[in-house]
Symmetry: C2
Subunit: 733 residues, 2 copies
């Protein structure tokens, strides 16, 4: 059956291409639709009046009847079109009228018959389509039809093919999703019928790489079904050749030797201060790397007290990584030697390749590497850190705070920002990797490795493009169930609207596709650089939430209102506190404090009130995450709050109660020290902001949902919002 | 004429209220519409067939004809409705048919005639309405009609009444604005006709406070006009009594004595450490306040070495401010004495009033204050700072970095965050004021003062509600042309959807109204606490831009891409660099660097390249603002970059060239010192973020537009977006 439909479409497409066309005609579109079960209006050519009656009867409702003649181009002018004919008598009459009109209009015309076409009912117009994205390949699109939605760009994308459930999920991924469920008395449309149209279009483009775009526009959706009023198919002028892929095992084998090497050679190692080859050597040595470090330099006997080799081929024993610190023009020759020596990884720090327009030079080294099976990191990078190996193969300064986050950046500038941020915040790092030109190794290789690396608990990546969006999604999907992946995609707002031959194409601005597909891959997208850095720092610190119920406990009513705003902004659920729990909170807070959520303990309270309420929040199993709002007072100074909070949280963690706790500290400068103290003890705390701690908690929740640790999409995908204004009005603190 | 229409509506409303109704009937709605010139379909009661013909002829196009009989309720069942009748013959026939049908249906029915009503053409459905907002009073609303927009909540609000231009501006304030201008071949609608409907509705509700809501839903807009298919009017059950208002001169007089006092009394001053009355005294003394400080305490002879008085009435000479540091229950009595002494300002630190449910106590002190003409700040506040007077009338620690920003907060917690943030960032402050319960003085009083205060260059306010939205807007409109006003409105996302009797009402969530009206008032709304603090710190530092052209100069291509994203996100205009300027930039940067915008000087460049390009950016009069992206390298270390940038900017400022310059520094921790250095020299610089510097520049631009310093709304209200991806791909740094 499936083969049959493919054969049918294949022969049609071959015929179209043989004619040098790239756009299919309407009848050709119908052949494809029929082959793939894409619902379109029924239509038949009636050669005589009885055929017309029988076709009309088969279609059921009213039909459109049109003259079919190679000699009549303007059917309407010829009186050759009648819309909305129903019942045998009317069909008969219409057939005769049309033929008579045509004869009167053009007596010599050859008349082949009358086309009888199902008349589509009124319904909700939707658009289903598919395009070929330069990064992700075939993607399927869904949105509501009509100018309004084209103006508002309310459309969603998935990698093709999709299964039925994934197709159905697209109906809920548009902002105006509610409309399909029926609003203001309108009936709900047949959601499965729409999903089925999406699924079938996605199969079609997945089966035929040469189909560049498909448009079903509009699809008329009713409570009874979803039929495409029009199908448009456009073929690609050329199909890109598939990229070379490595197996998971191959990737892990070479990445392990890159990230956990026993022996590193530095090509271009130097004794001369200020040279990159000197910085790299010093960083390797000073960083405390315990493996072998072999300087390679034809002009030196020893470098930093270590024996230097004329060529990497002279280095004794196996070498895992060759770090290049030589000018671009010398790289190719040295890479040949690295290949001959059987070194699996070349780390190419030098610039002067594709990024400066030297594409030929870059192609040359890629060819050498492929020939020898050497994997390339870079070129045009700062190098990389593998902190648990005390390995600093960069020309920057060493970084030694070991921890759970692996950071990668396409840009060196961003890499330096990562380093500075990590140092000033004492972020626990497992690795920092520069990707630069990504001539070979890229995000999906790194994701595959970090997914397995036991030191890495969270991965954060800055990227400007993906060489192979599908490989990235595949690697992300394999990694996300184990650990969070944060992505900062730069170039979000770049002039997206490309010239395109279809509606769907015009709707697929680069970023819209990235946004939807990264979300489907379970990736946490950071809106900006600082967010990426903060998520990276904080996510490994927070335990995963076990459920959706977030409770705010605050000493400052004013912070409570802002924290509530942030909870809603981040798609989190402010728990509706049950009466018994409310009563329990009330036993600890002054009568004019506000239970409910936020729990407002009021500003004048002693440490014991903070402690009792935090304790209750951790104790009660119905609460899954705590957001604390601290207000600096003489009664409870910042470090007192920090110590009690850290102590209580640690006590519960020892008892096996692991809930994410974040805190916003409002106060004089002492709160900064308190935040650092809390952070180092597993409580994500920030001064002078109510937004950041909740944004981080939101990121952790997004991951927990993607990793299916919370069950599906949360209770209903909706946040329960407390009335922040009331809370604020009541306590005014 | 205007009086005539008011009389007409007044008598109608009185009649409706006399009947105890709050909803008007359709005919009553039509009377109001006609009085105010709100276009509705023409309709007339034809008593005989000739009248019907003449009315139909007057309306022009097709009409709807309906039986009018007090005895026939279900007109359609009676065959009493015919739609789309056109031409004298058809109108005649329809009249007879309707009357005959009615007679056949109900032979005994009294038939008054046939209603002839204009049939509205097809067109774009829009909604025009008005509601009574609890904060802002009468507001007028506009949006597109149909379920889609009701689902997407694409609607905009203005204070009523609006003039014609303001009404017209609403058409461009919705997200789907493009539709009204005609998309995909559809013709543009008559914008002035829609605006006129808005304007007239706004006049109606402004004239009649007892009209709670008006709905024109839908209004059918076509290229030829805009006619309301339906008008719905709902009356209020009660009209709130107007709030007591002070004149501008009264406000300035008392505020001057509050903020620049010569003599301050502290009621409840104390020698006992830990007491608020002790902290306030110490802060006044230690802060260096040069005026008189009079402790008042019935139980002490002297406090901190100053003579103490039993009662404030005993204090010699005039007193400008009485600071209260006594428990709530003693406030009323002391306030009586303050009133008798003729002190114009009472600063009420104590809590225990409305915020703890003690509304009676608060009402009591307000009554005392009004009787004596004393203005109240608070109660339930931390006090206030007036730094240029070295005045610290709070129980917190003194703050002495004098500068241009005045900060206010409704909440004490947020006040403490302001203090800590200001101290750690060395923010130059003119005042910090706690507003607390706002029993009297509120944001509009403070705005009025700070607008005049020569020390204040920027005002930032945290608020949870406004007591009088219109007074605030009035004060903001008077202030914004002189200096920026930043507002953090907490409770943005609070469960907004109130039960409401009309579509417009349901669309008017609290925050939607705040958002639009604050924007109209020219206020810069901060999305969060940290944003408010950063805007407050940075805005006084930056000169105002003179035009829209923003240029990014970056050493890191990666930062350039992110900075471009941020420029677009903030609604700024990435200048399209003319060829001659492009050529000038190219003379300074390596051949593989990228001119265009961002100007990518590439990462390996010496200080001279940064200096030459920044110099060019300041020199060329076509460039109005610079965004710098710095990348930490050995060739140009952070402090070298900071010094050269500060020096060049200072040199140009001395020459009278004042352009805003912001910078994002990517690098190791030394960039933090460089940022502080730059900030103190008028360049707004941040480490580890590409978003913040541009967000601040965006805030400055929003102000410059609101203050009409840029001319209208920018070139076309649209940002010209460079292709960030290309830039990144090219330089990869």
């Amino acid at each position: 059956m499936a083969e049959d439909r493919e054969l049918k479409v294949r022969s049609l497409l071959d015929a179209v291409r043989a004619e040098g066309r790239s756009a299919l005609t309407a009848p050709e579109g119908k052949v494809i639709a029929d082959a793939y079960g894409i619902a379109v209006p029924g239509e038949e050519l009636a050669r005589d009046v009885e055929e017309a009656v029988s076709y009309a009867a088969r279609f059921g409702g009213p039909v459109v009847m049109k003259i079919v003649s190679p000699d009549i181009l303007h059917k309407t002018d010829a009186g050759g079109v009648i819309v909305g004919v129903e019942g045998a008598a009317d069909v008969r009459a219409a057939f005769h009228t049309i033929v008579d009109n045509a004869r009167a209009y053009a007596p010599a015309a050859r008349i082949e018959g009358v086309q009888v076409q199902e008349l589509l009912p009124k319904g909700q117009e939707v658009i289903v389509g598919a395009v070929t994205d330069p990064t992700f390949g075939k993607v399927v699109a869904f949105g509501l039809g009509g100018v309004l939605v084209e103006v508002l760009k309310d459309v969603t994308f998935r990698l093709a093919p999709v299964d039925a459930d994934e197709a159905l999920s697209m109906l809920d991924s548009i902002r105006a999703a509610e409309i399909l469920r029926g609003v203001r008395g309108a009936p709900a449309v047949d959601r499965w019928a729409i999903a089925e149209q999406i699924r079938r279009v996605s199969e079609l483009v997945a089966d035929f790489p040469e189909i560049a775009e498909v448009d079903l526009n509009p699809v008329i959706a009713t409570p009874e079904g979803a039929v495409a009023a029009d199908i448009r198919v456009i073929l690609a002028r050329s199909v890109p050749k598939p990229r070379r892929r490595y197996t998971r095992e191959e990737i892990l084998a070479s990445m392990r030797r890159l990230m956990e090497p026993s022996s590193v050679a530095v090509i271009g190692a130097s004794n001369e201060q200020g040279k990159i080859g000197n910085s790299v050597m010093r960083n390797l040595v000073d960083g405390g790397f315990a493996g072998e470090i072999h300087p390679v330099n034809p002009k030196a006997d020893d470098i930093l007290g270590r024996k230097a080799y004329k060529s990497v081929t002279d280095v004794p024993g196996e070498v895992d990584v060759a770090v290049f610190a030589i000018p671009a023009k010398f790289v190719a020759a040295a890479l040949e030697e690295v290949g001959r020596k059987g070194i699996p990884n070349a780390v190419l720090i030098p610039s002067g390749f594709a990024e400066t327009g030297e594409h030929g030079l870059q192609d040359e080294i890629v060819a050498i590497a492929e020939r020898h099976g050497v994997r390339l990191l870079g070129p045009n990078i700062y190098g990389y850190y593998s902190t648990w190996q005390d390995l600093c193969a960069t020309f920057c300064t060493p970084y030694d705070v070991k921890g759970g986050v692996a950071l990668t950046s396409q840009s060196g500038g961003i890499g330096m920002a990562i380093l500075g941020f990590a140092r000033t915040t004492k972020t626990g790092v497992s690795a920092i990797v520069g990707l630069g030109n990504k001539s070979d190794l890229d995000e999906d290789d790194l994701l595959t490795w970090f997914g397995e690396d036991p030191h890495t608990e969270c991965i954060a990546m800055h990227l400007e493009d993906l060489k192979d969006g599908r490989a990235f999604v595949e690697a992300a999907r394999a990694t996300v169930p184990k650990k969070p992946v944060v992505v900062l995609k730069a170039g979000r707002t770049a002039a997206g609207a490309k010239a395109a031959g279809s509606h769907t194409g015009a709707l697929a601005g680069d970023d819209a596709v990235y946004e939807d597909i990264l979300k489907q891959a379970g990736v946490i997208r950071a809106p900006g650089l600082n967010d990426m850095l903060e998520y990276a720092r904080a996510l490994p610190v927070l335990p995963a939430p076990q459920g959706d119920n977030v409770v705010i406990i605050t000493g400052a009513g004013g912070s409570g209102v802002l924290l509530s705003d942030a909870v809603t902004d981040n798609g989190l659920t402010l728990m509706e506190i049950p009466p018994d729990l409310d009563a329990s909170f009330r036993t600890f807070i002054p009568p004019f404090g506000a239970a409910g959520n936020p729990v407002d303990i009021t500003g004048g309270e002693p440490p014991s009130t903070y402690e009792a309420t935090i304790r209750l929040g951790l104790e009660d199993p119905r609460i899954h995450a705590l957001v604390l709002g601290y207000w600096h007072t003489i009664v409870t100074p910042p470090m007192v709050f920090a110590e009690l909070t850290a102590r209580v949280v640690a006590e519960f963690r020892e008892r096996g109660v692991e809930k994410p706790v974040v805190a916003s500290l409002a106060g004089d400068v002492e709160v900064e020290e308190a935040c650092q103290y809390l952070f180092e003890r597993g409580v994500v705390a920030y001064p002078y902001t109510t937004e950041k701690p909740v944004a981080v908690l939101g990121a952790k929740y997004r991951w927990a949902r993607a990793a299916e640790r919370l069950g599906a999409e949360g209770p209903s995908g909706r946040a329960v919002v407390g009335d922040g204004r009331d809370v604020g009005g009541r306590s005014m603190s």
